[in-house]
Amino acid sequence: MNIDSIKNGYVIDHIKAGNAMKIYQILNLNRLDCQVAIITNAKSKKTGTKDIIKIDKNIDIDLETLGFIDHNITVNIVKDDKIVEKRKLDLPETVVNVARCNNPRCITSIEKYLDHIFVLTDKENEIYRCKYCEMSLKNKD
């Protein structure tokens, strides 16, 4: 299967297989007016399969949100048909309105205007906790 290479833009690589559509939606890539390619279940030497997203335009990508979803992702920056930079991601200290607190006792369950804020409290175990009620985010997926 051939997908056109991109001239200027991004190749978001090493996405955990099955997560590409989620990233597509969270980054609002459907709103772009350029070519976006989503490749799922591509072969990967490291993990067996992976997803890839190619974006044929220089846009502002929310790397913190990407890092929160999957910090093993690599973001390749392409200029004039060449990869000029490979960016590794890190777990962000805080994420806002990317995940929702599911604790029915949390104040965010009744005060709808509040941002849903999660803070990284344990980097080793990748544990985020709600800023308000401190409930851990069980499943980032």
Binding site: N103, R105, I107, E111, I127, C130, K131, Y132, C133
Partner: protein, 304 residues
């Protein structure tokens, strides 16, 4: 401006200072009787809690201040749909300091973001209740003379019991503390507290279902009530509510200077035959609660 939302907001030194001020208040009440003349405390209780509210109100009155507020959400503008932030900003126009209880976890933190006066968290759901923890620390300090080198038994609802979570967090900062966690499996201490507080700080602990197993080793036995309001399922509550009942017989092997504590209200978990035992400290504990709240109000209002 400082708020008290979580016991972790206070350093060990600040807690020690509060305890010293509270002890001074106990010994020299008259010295403090006009410290808050002209000041107003607002007690905003979005869920009822008579003893905590009365403790705050008595504390402010004994400092010479006045009290305004409400004791349940139905009698406040919340019933009309007002947000916590709006309520706090309005009440801040009428008061110098606010003590707030709310059934939703994190509500006092939301209040503190917009408040122009100090906020004291008087309990938010099953989350935090820092003034209860300060009360417990003052009780331990006054009754045992120290906050280190203690064997502390925690019994009952260790899962939803916020007083227990906060006390473990606070006591983990002192040296040579060992916890005995006594609960049925369904109400055992959450894993994240074991991992993030106990194991992270190398605090020794043992878990048991048997209240008598380690009785002879304890310096403090902290009993808790199984709280109906924390259960979504009535059947679970009925099954677990009377799991532990402390009575004279069970105290047979306990140390002569054991300190029995309970945040109150008690239901069945401590038999009334224990009340006259000199080791029963839970009513004294309620009194200590008023003094530590007086010390806290002075600190947050920056009254010297």
């Amino acid at each position: 401006m400082k708020h008290l939302i979580d016991i972790k907001d206070l350093s060990v030194e600040e807690i020690d200072d509060l305890i010293e001020v509270a002890k001074d208040i106990i010994n020299h009440k008259e010295k403090y009787s006009h410290k808050c003349d002209g000041k107003k405390l607002a007690t905003l209780f979005f869920e009822p809690s008579t003893r905590t509210r009365l403790s705050f109100e008595a504390a402010m009155m004994e400092l010479g201040g006045n009290v305004i507020g409400f004791s349940e959400a139905s009698s406040s503008s919340v019933a009309k749909g007002e947000t916590v932030s709006d309520t706090i900003r309005v009440v801040g126009c009428y008061s110098d300091i606010i003590a707030m209880r709310h059934p939703k976890e994190g509500a006092p933190y939301v209040a503190s973001i917009k408040s122009e006066v100090p906020i004291i968290n008087a309990g938010d759901g099953g989350h935090n209740h820092p003034t209860q923890t300060l009360t417990d620390l003052l009780t331990i300090k006054c009754e045992k003379g120290r906050l280190d080198n203690l064997n502390i038994g925690l019994c009952g609802d260790l899962k939803f019991g916020r007083t227990v979570h906060s006390l473990i967090t606070a006591m983990s900062r002192y040296k040579n503390i060992k916890f005995f966690l006594i609960s049925p499996d369904e109400l055992s201490l959450p894993e994240y507290i074991k991992r993030d507080v106990l194991e992270k700080n190398n605090i020794e602990y043992v878990e048991t279902k048997n209240i008598e197993q380690y009785m002879k080793d304890l310096d403090i036995l902290y009993m808790t009530r199984v709280q109906k309001e924390r259960f979504f399922n009535e059947e679970d509550y009925v099954r677990l509510k009377d799991y532990y009942i402390l009575n004279k017989l069970k105290l047979k092997k306990a140390k002569k200077d054991l300190c029995i504590m309970h945040p109150l209200p008690r239901v069945n978990e401590i038999s009334t035959d224990v009340d006259d035992d000199p080791r029963a400290c839970y009513f004294k504990q309620a009194r200590y609660g008023k003094y530590i709240r007086m010390a806290l109000i002075l600190k947050l209002l920056e009254v010297k």
